[in-house]
């Protein structure tokens, strides 16, 4: 049974045809790494999955919640899809704990008393239990990104989308965030991540998607694809990175 089904999805920005018929099936617990050149449509695809970008054609389905062209009410879908961004996007006027509790309180109408243990558990999971009362700007980039992960987890999503979540970090902070993601993968969370961390994609991922000019150009087992890329485009992409 597929958790995420993406069927013939098209997306234009004006005259720019950015997604040209994407088909993708992702099962529960899969860890999918999306790679590809800048401008190939990786972020657009990811953002389409929770409706941050509207699609022009095709259908996306996550755990039974369908999303089609022109659809506007996305709240049911978004409750099942968590997202972590390159720029963390924590709410600066709220404490760390409040950042994590806000959506459960406001969206799920849970009481603060019910949210607090969940928030504390999620912060503990990302190794930041003691930062509950800190403000985001008192944290390092790596810590902020881990709070962002905890914030998404607090909604108990079925899938987590991660768009280059380590790209804005100083190199020495990358690993603490990747360690958290790896832990999620081990615990069985379904992850779809756009990443430039090829080693991470190969070691943690169990599916690799190579996007090229708005299409899924090649996909499969990461270890096999890295060792044995079938298309010249993927060959040169991997070659350019190594």
């Amino acid at each position: 049974m597929d958790l995420v089904r993406i069927d013939a999805v098209h997306k234009h920005f004006g005259s720019n045809h950015v997604l040209k018929g994407i088909d993708l099936r992702i099962g529960a617990g899969e860890v999918v790494a999306i790679i590809g050149r800048s401008g190939s449509g990786k972020s657009t695809l990811l953002r389409s999955i929770n409706g941050l970008e509207s699609i022009d054609d095709g259908q996306i389905e996550v755990d039974g919640e369908k999303l089609t062209a022109g659809q506007t009410d996305l709240r049911a879908l978004r409750q099942k899809v968590g997202m972590v961004f390159q720029q963390f996007n924590l709410f600066p006027h709220l404490k760390v704990g409040e950042n994590v509790m806000l959506a459960p309180q406001v969206v799920k109408k849970m009481s603060r008393a019910d949210c607090e243990p969940i928030a504390k558990a999620m912060l503990a999971k990302v190794g930041l239990a003691e930062k509950f009362d800190a403000y985001p700007d008192q944290l390092s980039g790596g810590q902020q990104q881990r709070v962002a992960i905890a914030r998404a987890l607090a909604m108990q999503p079925k899938v987590m989308l991660c768009d280059e979540i380590t790209s804005a970090l100083d190199p020495e902070l990358v690993n603490e965030v990747l360690a958290v993601v790896k832990q999620l993968a081990v615990e069985g969370m379904t992850l779809i991540m756009v990443t430039h961390e090829m080693r991470f994609a190969r070691d943690v991922g169990n599916k690799l998607v190579f996007m090229y000019q708005g299409k899924v150009h090649e996909s499969g087992d990461p270890k096999e694809l890295f060792a044995n890329p079938q298309t010249p485009e993927l060959q040169s992409f991997i070659g350019a990175i190594n």
Binding site: N50, G51, L52, L74, R75, R78, Q79, V81, G82, M83, F85, Q87, N89, L90, F91, P92, H93, L102, A103, V106, V107, Y135, A148, R151, A152, M155
Partner: protein, 223 residues
């Protein structure tokens, strides 16, 4: 021939002055509360292009910002009765102040809303929050925080501008001044006294709004 200052002649009317000052404060208290609320609605309508309110507020803001306050006030008090809308002087004064401050604060608050990074709104959307929830929990407080000093200045400007409400016989502070100097013929003493009273009121309003701002708008102690 030297002029003999006679402030006793003003002091004799202290009750009128006190009442006038209180009325001016009352006007700005109500006017600022409703005006900034109206401005908040206008700001979000314009910033987020909420149809059809965005267009309505655009016209409203341009109309108000490009006409004199006195004319707006006269229109409401003397003009509207032609349409069967008869208002007493206080209602007219408050409406004029709300409408005026509403337009200016629409523009001020809109700048605050637009300064909120897009990524925060996207993050909130991705957490399944509705637009109204995002506005209330993510946008409103930081937006007001960013523009609070400008908003405070505008409130003070409108309070000082409320002196023209004396023209429709609202017994605020300037009305009291006009009344007193028509009795004691001491224009210098009367108007300098009232000017000082406005100065004190302006400082008080500023101080109050700063306090209010750091408590309720910032919500976070700035270190």
């Amino acid at each position: 021939m030297a002029y003999h200052f006679d402030f006793i002649a003003v002091w004799e009317y202290r009750e009128q002055l006190a009442t006038g000052a209180l009325h001016t404060l009352g006007l700005i208290a109500v006017g600022a509360t409703l005006g900034v609320s109206l401005g908040t609605l206008g700001a979000v309508s314009r910033a987020w292009k909420i149809k059809p309110f965005d267009k309505i507020f655009t016209v409203y803001v341009e109309a108000i910002r490009n006409t004199p306050f006195l004319v707006q006030l006269f229109f409401i008090f003397f003009g509207l009765p032609a349409l069967g809308v008869k208002l007493d002087e206080w209602t007219a004064a408050i409406i004029a102040m709300v409408v005026n401050l509403g337009a200016y604060s629409t523009e001020i608050i809109r700048a605050g809303i637009q300064a909120i990074p897009r990524g925060q709104i996207e993050a909130a959307s991705s957490l399944a929050m509705t637009r109204a929830q995002i506005f209330r929990h993510i946008v409103l407080r930081p937006a007001l925080q960013k523009v609070w000093p400008a908003l405070t200045s505008q409130v003070v400007i409108v309070m000082l501008g409320s002196s023209v409400c004396s023209q429709i016989s609202a017994t605020e502070l300037t009305y009291a001044a006009n009344f007193i100097q028509s009795r004691n013929f001491r224009a210098f003493e009367t108007y300098i006294t009232v000017a000082l009273m406005y100065l004190v009121l302006a400082f008080c309003v500023r101080w109050l709004l700063n306090k209010f701002g750091s408590h309720f708008v910032n919500g976070r102690k700035t270190t």
